[in-house]
Assembly symmetry: C2
Homo-oligomer: 345 residues x 2
Amino acid sequence: MSRSIDLAVIPGDGIGQEVVTQGLKVLNAVLPQDVKLETKEYDLGAQRWHRTGETLPDAELEALKGHDAILLGAIGDPSVPSGVLERGLLLKLRFAFDHFINLRPSKLFPNTATPLAGRPEIDFVVVREGTEGPYTGNGGSLRTGTEHEVATEVSVNTAYGVERVVRDAFARAAARPRKKLTLVHKNNVLVYAGHLWKNTFDKVAAEFPEVSTDYLHVDAATIFFVTQPERFDVIVTDNLFGDILTDLAAAVTGGIGLAASGNINPTGAFPSMFEPVHGTAPDIAGQGKADPTATILSVALLLRHLGYEAEAVRIEDAVSADLAERDGATPRTTDEIGDALAVRV
Amino acid sequence: MSRSIDLAVIPGDGIGQEVVTQGLKVLNAVLPQDVKLETKEYDLGAQRWHRTGETLPDAELEALKGHDAILLGAIGDPSVPSGVLERGLLLKLRFAFDHFINLRPSKLFPNTATPLAGRPEIDFVVVREGTEGPYTGNGGSLRTGTEHEVATEVSVNTAYGVERVVRDAFARAAARPRKKLTLVHKNNVLVYAGHLWKNTFDKVAAEFPEVSTDYLHVDAATIFFVTQPERFDVIVTDNLFGDILTDLAAAVTGGIGLAASGNINPTGAFPSMFEPVHGTAPDIAGQGKADPTATILSVALLLRHLGYEAEAVRIEDAVSADLAERDGATPRTTDEIGDALAVRV
Ligand SMILES: CC(C)[C@H](C(=O)O)[C@@H](O)C(=O)O
Ligand SMILES: CC(C)[C@H](C(=O)O)[C@@H](O)C(=O)O
């Protein structure tokens, strides 16, 4: 295991800087003394775009490649046209670094408010495909702005792309106590992509006889997320369905203030990137109100990815204990939550 | 107003027949004496496909055209490959009859179990586009079944198609007390389709200054469905997002046993089709366990569409009263629920 971590940090916009500061605080606190942590901050996001018109220049993309991993806060601002930073920066990174595993664990921590009655046990992981589907940017528009406009979006799915994420999801399911994997798609309507996903899933399933499997249409899956979330262990799904389901998963497990994610390239060919699922929340930015827990849990995923399993578990346990013991009545500042977790780890 | 209704009935598969029987029972009970109701049943669905290989022959499609409206139970069976009946029958009807308004009201009725804590007030309508988006069947697969397979799905969106559903949604919002319309899309990623939807929405908004508007990404919308569903009044969205959101909406308002829908062609050029949102539930078919309420509420939408507003309201009020007064502890049979509602209307 490497005893140094060379980390790229992209704080981004809105509450991004605040939550990243706490993530780094906890990272510093949890790392063994002999691990050398180097961080380099990249000024990317809305302000940079307003200043220079750049989203992610080639030189910076190249420089980012040299790091062991990337920690990202949040990207986006209402002042930037929708899609510019998403396509030009966030998705560009996911695609350029071939982050084909978008890993999003969902757990209902003790003492955490859920909108669901009866507090079901929730502890599942969504393995969202990260480099294909409707996110490829394939599409276009004809006779734009006229009454004859036709706009298309093409979901692209390859055997190569589907198989690698499905295999990864099976391996993750096999490593968990319940060993259960659910494929979510919409193969009764999206028959071409659906067949590719389903056939690949069935083929890879043969290699993992110990994993029990099932299939749900995406619409039905949303029902079970609110009526029976305890039925899920690992879910594998396409890029867009994964986007939708993980926001819903975050909501039922206490809100996106707690939802962590990893954009992972398991081959190590490129740095993986860890970020909270939430956005930039411009309405509360700079006020110390943002919950940095999602970023701190993303740091745990980062550590696990780099081989620091014990440290990852310490962060997750600290979050769990912190939430269990907190006094829900008194809201804590971003800084206070970061401090509390840094002390605990 | 026409004082006769010539209704096509497609009971379909699974619980379809049972729920349709109750729907017709209530329809007969609510209609004024002088309205002549004629029904003709069409044998379409899984059994027909097994017997003849046919999903929807041209002659039957042609015959269906002659009716004032269609009442459909549910279509599909595990014994039929996924997609065959969906594409060959259900979606074929929606597309052939240009059902561009897929209307799905969601209301949390009194005394109804919701998985949400705190029983928020829920009363919104999703206006789902019904003839475009990823449902067009555009797409294909190359090198199928090999490791080099590429499968695509094309979402097709036209100014014509988007504008007519958006305008319909604005009109519906304008007619409701809260006069609020939310556009749901994913225009930060699906930029081509997203721009068409957003620009059309903004353009039509100018014609409805009394309607307040907002926009949500589909992932964020799922969060609000469980944390703040009372914020919604009318939602307009694309075919696939509407599919996903309306199942979630059904779940939070007490389950798909209550969710009604109309596949509407407001021009009257073709018959509109009314169906419960739920599927065929083969596990409980034939046991008298199915809740026919969704079908009965779909009959209310059918009546409203044909101009029988008072009768539609009577059904909706009957459902509301029935749910409020029922004894949740004793489950009722399909027949008992139908009888109770037929008496009330
Ligand atoms: C910001 C947006 C491009 C992104 C996505 O759609 O993937 C976000 O919603 C997420 O889930 O990380
Ligand atoms: C059965 C299926 C084709 C259909 C759809 O996707 O529209 C259903 O889920 C619905 O919502 O009516």
